[in-house]
Amino acid sequence: MAQREAVIPATTTRRLWTWFHRLASPRYFYELAGRLIPWFGWAAAVLLAAGLYGGLWLAPPDYQQGDAYRIIFIHVPAAWMSLFAYVAMAGAGFIGLVWRIKLAEVVARACAPLGASFTLLALCTGSLWGKPMWGAYWVWDARLTSELVLLFLYLGYIALDAAIEDRRKAARATSVLALVGVVDIPIIHYSVEWWHTLHQGPTVFKLGGPSISLDMLVPLLLMVVAFKLFFFAMMLVRARTEVLEREVNSAWVREVVGEP
């Protein structure tokens, strides 16, 4: 029995490893991503429509904030995705640095513009929410400042990437930058607990469950999933384009590009 238990995980690990290797092959990735993108994209569109309908029309006004709170349905998903995209970018960059997997470099680079977009969206919507609630578009509060630093990290990543001609050298430099910047992620996350800030604390993930009514929570979660699917769809589109550019000398790219 003990022997059998040892065998099963070994096979699973090997299978997982084989799959991982296949995934890392540019051609396999190109085809798999090509099949996944329409699903992710259309699912994101449907969930986005449902979330917007639920959030802007069905959900009742907040008892304290009136209708101004409706900014939450884009602000919170954007802020979460700004962190998620950064961790994905730094994680893929790390894999690229350590194991020299070219596909990981491609994925890391594809995350940057999306992450920067989500960060910008979180900052703009937060600012527009702050004005009617706090009386100011901007305060140098821990949460806001650390999120602004995140935007600069993304912009620094994009600028550094654009400045280095050689793709592999650029990937090494940007991955190191991304990994150094990871320190900002826990700071953003815990800023509302570590410092007394104007920004409100967590509403959804906290002890004792979410303190938000279901009419508001459901559209919020729909938007969160929609943002995530949108991120994956467009990240894969970007990554596929770069795979084509990088693999231009291989026969399969000639076939793909030759197609009308």
């Binding site: 029309w57 409706r70 513009p113 977009s117 590009v257 030759g258």
Partner: protein, 55 residues
């Protein structure tokens, strides 16, 4: 929402809410259009390059 009027005015917060959603729409639209346009340009460029290499 009880009425279309209420939906448009957002209880007096129309400027803040609708500006937020407009920025959201613009950023999402850019993130769809830019990668697709870039993809088409890259494919055209690669196709031209390959045609030059093997006439």
């Amino acid at each position: 929402m009880k009425s279309f009027h209420e939906f448009i005015t957002m209880g007096g917060f129309a400027f803040y809410v609708w500006t937020s959603y407009a920025i959201f729409a613009a950023i999402f639209a850019w993130n769809v259009i830019q990668p697709l346009v870039h993809r088409r340009r890259v494919r055209e460029r690669l196709a031209r390059r390959l045609r030059r290499m093997q006439p």
